[in-house]
């Protein structure tokens, strides 16, 4: 069976594993980014807080001149941590007294406001402000582009690692799903078409079996047991047939000899009748074994071949045409062309011929019988005869049951065999509800 890839449970599992891997990488990335961002901010906060506290101290102890002197010293210093420092000391109305920042960013020194801002030239910085006295405000800022670069590098490394992990998961999931799929397909193939050699290999457990090994082993054992039962059933049927038919044959041969010696008349007639009874017993035995065999092989696909059912039904109708005419019955057909079916041709031929035999037996002269085949396949044999009372419509398919008509011959196995054959082919054979006559329908269960 060709299974569409998205129908496979293993493909779905693999796809889910890949989605989980991608989401996990993205989530980890987001968490890492937030952590790094947080650490950077804390570090910038500490950095600027220390610097501004020092300068406030200097102003408190040394006054404005000392502060300006120290600020000038700081302009000369190159920061080794890559965080370029910027300062602004402003007087009344924000006029710049010292520093490399031309004018105040949007921070309020009265409340020592701090945060990420952009300098007038567009450089992003972390800045902290302080109100030194009524006419003096101080701003300390640090560039953080170097921190940002380090963060981006970390993220790039992280993304690359994540990509490698996701690709690894894809490869692993794909290989695993294919392998699992193949192993389960092996079990399915065995059920579709049991083969002894494969049964044996699957029934052997490896040293460290997993769940599929166990499933395969149990399946193989069950199939092997089923095969054994079928073989035993066949063996038993063959033996029964042999053991009963052989003495019947000896009896028949004695009757043939007696017939050759008998004078014509009553004795010969009686001997002839005895021989015909022997054939009746053999026929009864065969029908019973055929029913048992079809029942035992129900659902077994071995031995089925594609059959042109339309041609088969056409041919049987032709064979029976004269017999219907002689029985005073009109046989009409309505056969859809090109209906094919996986079947044992001889058995299905028998199913159809048994239904026609039944119609000839039970529909009185002048009646009408229709044989129809529809795609599906759906086979219908309907007549306008006396029909079967609703409470007997199931019983007529039982062994040895005949309709209540004294003149009907046979063992009452024809319909039981027809149903067994139908079910062996996955068809239900039943008597449909109808007001007029009997309507036998065989169609997929």
């Amino acid at each position: 069976m060709d299974r569409n890839w998205h129908n496979s449970i293993f493909t779905r599992l693999a796809r889910n594993a890949i989605i989980v891997a991608v989401l996990a990488v993205l989530l980890l990335l987001a968490v890492t980014w937030a952590t790094l961002e947080n650490a950077m901010k804390r570090s910038l906060e500490e950095n600027t807080a220390t610097d501004i506290a020092g300068l406030v101290d200097i102003y408190a102890s040394g006054g404005r001149a000392e502060l300006l002197q120290r600020l000038n010293d700081r302009y000369e210093v190159e920061n080794i941590d890559g965080r370029q420092a910027h300062y602004l000391l402003s007087g009344t109305g924000g006029t710049r007294i010292s520093g490399d920042v031309p004018h105040w960013p949007s921070l309020n020194p009265a409340i020592s406001e701090r945060g990420f801002v952009k300098l007038p030239d567009g450089t992003p910085v972390y800045a902290r402000s302080a109100h030194l006295d009524e006419n003096l405000d101080l701003l300390v800022a640090r560039e953080y582009s170097a921190d940002r670069r380090a963060m981006l590098l970390t993220v790039a490394v992280f993304l690359l690692t994540g990509l490698v992990i996701v690709l690894g998961v894809i490869a692993l999931a794909r290989a695993t799903s294919q392998r699992l799929s193949q192993r389960v397909e092996g079990i399915n193939a065995l059920f579709r078409e049991p083969a002894d050699a494969r049964l044996e290999s699957l029934a052997t457990l490896p040293d460290r079996p997993d769940e599929i090994d166990e499933l395969a082993c149990h399946s193989a054992e069950t199939l092997a047991r089923q095969g054994r039962l079928l073989r035993m059933h066949k063996h038993m049927s063959d033996n029964v047939a042999h053991e009963i038919r052989t003495p019947l044959m000896h009896l028949d041969q004695k009757l043939v000899k007696a017939l050759a010696a008998a004078a014509d008349g009553g004795e010969a007639t009686a001997l002839g009748q005895a021989r015909s009874d022997i054939r009746g017993i053999a026929g009864l035995l065969d029908s019973l074994l055929d029913i048992a065999s079809n029942e035992a092989r129900r659902g077994d696909r071995a031995g089925l071949e594609t059959v042109d059912l339309s041609a088969m039904v056409e041919q049987i109708a032709e064979l029976y045409e004269g017999s219907f005419e002689d029985a005073g019955l009109a046989l009409t057909t309505e056969i859809a062309p090109g209906v094919s079916f996986a079947a044992e041709p001889m058995q299905v031929t028998r199913l159809i011929s048994n239904l026609l035999d039944n119609a000839i037996k039970y529909v009185p002269r002048g009646g009408m019988v229709q044989l129809a085949l529809q795609p599906g396949p759906r086979l219908i044999v309907s007549d306008n005869g006396p029909g079967v009372p609703p409470d007997r419509r199931e019983a007529i398919f039982d062994r040895f049951v005949r309709a209540d008509r004294g003149d009907a011959s046979g063992h009452g196995l024809g319909l039981a065999l027809a149903r067994a054959i139908a079910e062996r082919h996955g068809l239900a054979l039943y008597l449909a509800d109808s007001d007029d006559g009997a309507t036998f329908v065989a169609e997929p269960m």
């Binding site: 009896l251 028949d252 041919q315 017999s323 044992e344 001889m346 031929t349 048994n354």
Partner: protein, 248 residues
Amino acid sequence: MQRLGNRIEQGQVSAMGSSEGQGLEILYVEDDANAAQAVIALASANGDRVTWEPSGKAGLQRAGAQRFDIIILDRMLPDMEGIEIVQRLRAAGVGVPVLMLSALARSENRIEGLDAGVDDYLGKPYEPQELIARVRALYRRASGQAQGAVILYGAFECHVKARTCFRSGKHIALSPKEFELFRYFMENAGETVTREMLLRDVWNMNFDPQTNVVDVNIGRLRRKLEEGFDKPALETIWGAGYRLTPGE
């Protein structure tokens, strides 16, 4: 090995006898002595010679060592399945026609036999005349007398390609299936054709329906072949089947 049966004089043998003009050389592999006796008696009365082997192995050896026209095989032998014997014979390149004569006579059993390489399959108990007819037909089929485009027998002509039938030069209109039936009789002209053979070869059925479909179809063909003629065309052979007569 036991050899039973006796060689019979030339002239007693039917026209379908082996190439030397004697009866058929038949190998019969059967473990049941009573069954074997019956077949041997039947074959001898028909002018055929039967070599009887009571076991599968002996039968297989005999079949490889000697030339036979027909092999009749029982199916359930104590030492080997008849089916296996056929398979081994076929694998060894022995193409002698095989008739399986078995108590396993259901449709399913017959198909197994035919699939294994058996040429014909007859169930026990059997009608003696049926066995004779089958053996004859099998031999005839195997000896491969190719039929031409026109088969002639007595007053009858069968034009195979044109699918037409003539009796004493008069065209007889037949339905396609009636023609198939007529042609089968012409191919087996003068020989007994059984119901089982007709079902199998003309209608492709290996079981006997409860309705007398064969008799009815034969009846129709017979009426068409005999209408307007004094002499019969098809005669009924009691306990066996039918035979086409020369009709002149």
